[in-house]
């Protein structure tokens, strides 16, 4: 036998777990975890994260707005809104360059969905928050500096 027993068992177990997830899940097979770009989320530099998401080379645009507080007292909960008036928005991606893992979240939009997303993110330290918008096949970006007060003492 070319496949040794251990490898064979592991493969079988992995397949079993996946089948279980699909069976229990609401998402169709192939969508479960497969679409989640692990490389991009685990990247530790902004450039690597952007590259892994195919978002390199975004141009700064006044049509993209990143709305976040000037000062965030608690870095664990920073409310960030990214919006754009651009038509045909395909995705919006939120990044914080100084976080250990800069890629925070990426939102893929349906054709009916407006270029608007609000979410709460974690920030390790004072940094820019970057919003990258993919609209009509082109990349646009904007950023907003957020000062993070450490300690959460409300200073």
């Amino acid at each position: 036998m070319t496949v040794d027993r251990r490898t064979f068992l592991r493969a079988g177990m992995a397949a079993g777990t996946t089948a279980l997830a699909v069976g229990a899940g609401l998402l169709s097979p192939g969508r479960v975890l497969a679409a989640w770009p692990k490389n991009a989320f685990m990247a530790t530099s902004l450039d690597d994260a952007l590259k892994a998401m195919n978002l390199s080379g975004a141009q700064a645009s006044s049509q993209v707005m990143v709305d976040a507080p000037d000062i965030a007292e608690n870095g664990a909960v920073v409310s960030v809104t990214v919006k754009t008036e651009l038509p045909d928005v395909q995705s919006i991606t939120v990044l914080v360059p100084k976080n250990t893992m800069p890629l925070i979240s990426s939102y893929e939009f349906g054709p009916q969905t407006e270029g608007f997303i609000t979410s709460r993110i974690k920030m390790r330290e004072t940094s820019d928050v970057i919003g990258v918008v993919k609209a009509g096949g082109k990349l646009h970006m904007a950023k907003k500096p957020v000062k993070v007060t450490l300690g959460g003492c409300g200073g």
Binding site: A24, L27, R31, T100, F109
Partner: protein, 105 residues
């Protein structure tokens, strides 16, 4: 399948639907240490969230550990009407899933 709670509000504003949702989830990054034991708390976070309206996906969220605990999100879409159902389903890095739905008001 772990049963986790979720809050969804959806309402019409003119011709577009507004949606606000909170999913109750610890969103552990895997970098925090338990202060009592000094051990790293294993990563546990939502990776993918799908929002569907009448069977059509309006928003797919790909999340990393950088999204806050008990994640909140808000978005808008067109083509809905009062009484429609909006569904939100998520899956986390441990394979847990959750689902919630709301009627658009």
């Amino acid at each position: 399948m772990a049963k986790k709670k979720m809050k969804i509000r959806a309402w019409m504003d003119g011709d577009r639907a507004n949606v606000k949702a909170i999913i109750f989830h610890p969103m552990e990054t895997g970098q925090r240490k338990d202060k009592a034991t000094g051990k790293v708390i294993p990563a546990h976070y939502i990776t993918e969230v799908k929002c569907t309206h009448n069977g059509k996906t309006v928003l797919t969220c790909l999340w990393g550990p950088g999204v806050s605990k008990n994640p909140f999100m808000s978005f808008r879409f067109r083509g809905a009407k009062k009484g429609d159902t909006l569904k939100i389903a998520w899956v986390d890095n441990k394979g847990n899933t959750g689902e919630g739905e709301a009627t658009i008001k």
